[in-house]
């Protein structure tokens, strides 16, 4: 008994891993993959498998999950959020950085292999949506509705006006400026929920940021679709946008709400093997969204929110399991996002990107601070609210991709999207750092 107590006390006293251990582990992991590939390619006469593609996919998935987790833990040692480490790790193993450095052979993931991870990425988006939706407490939203609306409205107005003017100065086209400014107003629900999950006890400020981000993004998806539709009809570029508005927004929200009913019924009947249930539900959402051409993130968000609202007890085990799977999901999502970063586009347009990102940062700061004051939020929240709305990631990238779909084959659309992606990349890297600082500076008592 005493020995056991001593052993437990010893285990409690054991220091957590140092930066050196994490760095060595990360280097060993990358080295192992490189060495295994090299041996496979050079040693003659060893057995070959009939499933090389499947094996390569699992190997990369393992590298992405473990590597980005280790990288996340490593950057925590220098007080940065793990997301930054995950993004940087993705960037290091992805093709973008090495292509820009003209050494594409050094990339651990080729562009073709990155495509094979697409399924895992979409699944990760759905899981993030489910967890984000379940994190939004309806009673909290009702109590803070005024603050949420004011924060969202204040930011959108200031960002669209400020970034729109700067963008017009660069692009010399009102249509392009409006498209860019609307996209600049979006934030990242994934980053918000990842940082929220990182905290053992999410503060009211963290929950307010998440609720505002989700609300704002939902509104902006509609607004962005309207802008695209208007530009497309005025320039006769295509008729896809209207169809896209209806399905992407109304369809996504509608499917999310409708799915909550069968999910509730299913959860009444299933009580074991919840991991399998969560994964199957996530896959089903991905497929449904593929069939109906709706947005997986919005659908999953709505489903998470509705399911928790209509069956808080019945869905508790389901969402607890989803949260358990959240860490690997985040690692895949952010590392893949990092691997997708196009360094060439970022550095080719660095002047425009820097100017547009700076104007967005200033607009976010003004908009959020003014709105927070108007909503009567505590002083600490007024001071730091802006930092929670800097990150951009998945939804912004998805909207940027819609520009190419709405205006196929247009040179201006390709250029605009390249600059958009470069700006999102910058915000993707600096956003989580700023948000983490804000979450630490605002105490729960505020």
């Amino acid at each position: 008994m005493i020995a056991q107590a001593r052993q437990e006390a010893k285990a409690r006293r054991r220091p957590r891993f140092g930066a050196l251990f994490l760095a060595v582990a990360l280097a060993c992991l990358v080295g192992l993959i490189v060495l295994a590939r090299e041996l496979h390619a050079t040693v003659v006469g060893i057995p070959t498998s009939d499933l090389p593609a499947a094996g390569e996919t699992t190997l990369l998935l393992g590298l992405v999950i473990l590597g980005s987790w280790l990288a996340g833990r490593l950057v925590r040692k220098i007080a940065l959020p793990p997301i930054t480490g995950q993004l940087l790790f993705g960037m290091l193993i992805g093709p973008g950085l090495w292509e820009w450095l003209r050494r594409p052979e050094l990339a651990l993931i080729t562009p073709a292999q990155l495509t094979s991870l697409h399924g895992a990425e979409v699944l990760a988006v759905v899981m993030i949506g489910l967890v984000a939706g379940s994190e939004i407490d309806s009673s909290f939203v009702r109590a803070r509705l005024r603050a949420i609306v004011m924060l969202a409205l204040g930011q959108v107005t200031v960002i669209v006006a400020t970034v729109g003017c700067v963008a017009y100065w660069f692009f010399r086209s009102p249509a392009h400026a409006v498209i860019f400014a609307t996209l600049a107003a979006t934030c990242s629900s994934a980053v918000s929920v990842a940082l929220l999950r990182e905290m053992r006890h999410p503060t009211a400020f963290a929950r307010l940021l998440l609720a505002t981000t989700v609300t704002k993004d939902l509104v902006l998806v509609v607004a962005f679709s309207v802008v695209l539709f208007t530009v497309a009809t005025t320039t006769n570029a295509g008729g896809h946008a209207w169809h896209w508005i209806v399905l992407h927004v109304a369809g996504s929200v509608g499917i999310g709400c409708l799915l909550a009913i069968p999910l509730r019924l299913a959860l009444r009947q299933i009580e074991e093997r919840m991991i399998a249930v969560v994964l199957v539900v996530a896959v089903l959402i991905v497929i449904l969204c593929e069939i109906t051409d709706t947005a997986p993130l919005i659908t999953a968000l709505t489903l998470g929110y509705t399911a928790r609202a209509i069956a808080p007890v019945g869905s508790a085990s389901f969402f607890a399991t989803a949260r358990r799977l959240f860490l690997p999901v985040c690692c895949v999502f952010f590392a893949a996002a990092g691997a997708h970063i196009e360094c060439a586009a970022l550095f080719a347009n660095w002047g425009v990107v820097l100017a547009l990102s700076s104007s967005r940062l200033v607009a976010v700061w003004i908009g959020a601070t003014v709105a927070a004051r108007a909503a009567g939020l505590p002083a600490a929240m007024q001071r730091w609210a802006w930092a929670g709305f800097v990150p951009q990631a998945g939804i912004s990238l998805a909207l940027a991709a819609q520009v190419l779909i709405a205006f196929p084959g247009q040179a201006w659309a390709r250029n605009l999207v390249a600059i958009m992606i470069a700006c999102i990349t910058l915000n993707e890297v600096i956003g989580p750092i700023l948000m983490r600082i804000a979450l630490r500076r605002v105490p729960d008592s505020a």
Partner: protein, 414 residues
């Protein structure tokens, strides 16, 4: 669109299959308890596989292959985690005798059967084909189904002891099956032209590299898990990440995910400090892994081409019946011989004593690992044979009077 709808239907079926309705329905049929849920899933796999409705073939099968690789590695970890010094020390001499005897007899018969079938099937087949077939037959012959509750309740201490011996013996033999079959697969394999070749040096070199890589991953994962202090989310992350890496490395070296998983599992099992959260997470997913493997086995298996003619079908049927009958006759005999000295403490006439007649479910998983490596389609046919033998061996357990030793006859009606 059709593809998406198929996935949608499949997901819905999985959800319904895990519900209480299906569990209640299963309880209504006693035969289902003996068979186990895995067979229903295997039958579903056969239905959606390329042989019947063809829902899963080509592109769709490619999409799910990474899941199959992960499932095989996971199954290996579950088996490997049974390697515990404490458990091995607790094994009584009687069980060691039983296990050794079963292993020797099964291996000898496998060598003979492998040689015979290779000669009959392909008279000019190379030695490599013999080894591959011996590995396959060894997987079919070694071991038994660990589950004995479904055959009848343990009425007294001796019957309970018999049940425990059956379970422990199945665990030890499962490790032997994976090691032997994986070694056979590693040394006798198909080259890029599809010819079966025997290359022990290349195979063993690949095996050494694989073991080295697995050892590095296992060491790193164990060290990291020590620091996570039983945190569920981090344990899940490490397990998923490690499974993916192990599966990928296994494919690079042309080995079996089962063996890589077994080595990793053994490193956890033999570790001085128990990683309870990890062990719980891995074992709790065991039914899902088994169901997944059976589903893929259903998709992968192919009826032997010989069975498409009347004479061929009769020949295949005869092989299946012979193999199942051999189990029915030999397994109880081996048990009686090995446990003769312990008949006072172990109930040789208890229902649990009939469990060794049933083929181990692991056989299907081992042959599935063979089948995904094989491009000729031979392993797919052998998998179908193993499934038929397995089903017949279950049927023989339900009909206790066939070739049964005298001491078991008394309990037939019990």
């Amino acid at each position: 669109m059709t593809s998406s709808l198929i996935w949608l239907a499949l997901g819905s079926i999985i959800l319904v299959a895990g519900s209480r309705w299906v569990q209640r329905a299963r309880r209504m049929f006693p035969a289902m308890r003996v068979l186990g849920g895995g067979w229903a899933i295997l039958a579903f796999g056969v239905l959606v596989g390329p042989g019947v409705f063809g829902v899963f073939d080509g592109e769709r099968l490619l999409q799910v292959q990474p899941i199959l690789l992960i499932l095989l590695t996971w199954a290996g970890i579950v088996i490997g985690m049974q390697c515990r010094v404490r458990l091995f020390r607790a094994i009584p001499p009687a069980l060691w005798r039983w296990v050794s005897l079963d292993l020797c007899v099964s291996l000898m018969l496998s060598v003979v059967a492998g040689g015979l079938v290779a000669r009959i099937w392909q008279p000019d087949s190379p030695a490599a084909a013999h080894i591959l077939l011996t590995g396959t037959f060894a997987a079919v012959a070694i071991g038994w189904n660990p589950e004995s509750r479904s055959l009848g309740a343990h009425t007294d201490a001796a019957a309970t002891r018999m049940g425990v011996l059956v379970q422990a013996g199945a665990g030890v033999l499962a490790i032997c099956t994976v090691v032997i079959s994986s070694l056979a697969l590693q040394c006798a394999f198909q080259d890029s032209n599809g010819n079966v070749i025997f290359a022990p040096y290349g195979g063993l070199l690949a095996l050494m590299m694989e073991i080295g890589a697995v050892a590095v991953v296992a060491l790193g994962a164990r060290e990291i898990l020590r620091d996570t202090r039983e945190d569920d989310a981090r344990t899940t992350l490490i397990v998923i990440g490690t499974l993916c890496i192990l599966s990928g490395i296994t494919v690079l070296f042309g080995g079996s995910g089962l063996l890589a998983g077994l080595i990793f599992g053994a490193s956890i099992g033999l570790s001085r400090r128990r990683l309870r959260a990890l062990e719980h997470f891995i074992s709790s997913a065991e039914p899902i892994v088994a169901s997944g493997c059976f589903f893929f086995a259903g998709i992968t298996l192919a009826l032997p081409t010989a069975s498409f003619t009347l004479i061929g079908a009769l020949a295949v049927g005869a092989i299946v019946i012979m193999l199942a009958l051999a189990r029915r006759v030999l397994k109880p005999l081996i048990m009686t011989l090995a446990l003769a000295r312990d008949c006072q403490t172990v109930a040789l006439d208890s229902p649990a004593a009939r469990a060794p007649v049933r083929q181990a479910p692991l056989t299907i998983i081992v042959l599935l690992a063979f089948a995904i490596q094989d491009t000729s389609g031979l392993a797919n046919q052998l998998l179908a044979l193993a499934v038929l033998v397995s089903l017949l061996s279950v049927a023989f357990t339900l009909v206790p009077r066939i070739a049964e030793p005298a001491h078991l006859r008394g309990s037939g009606s019990a």
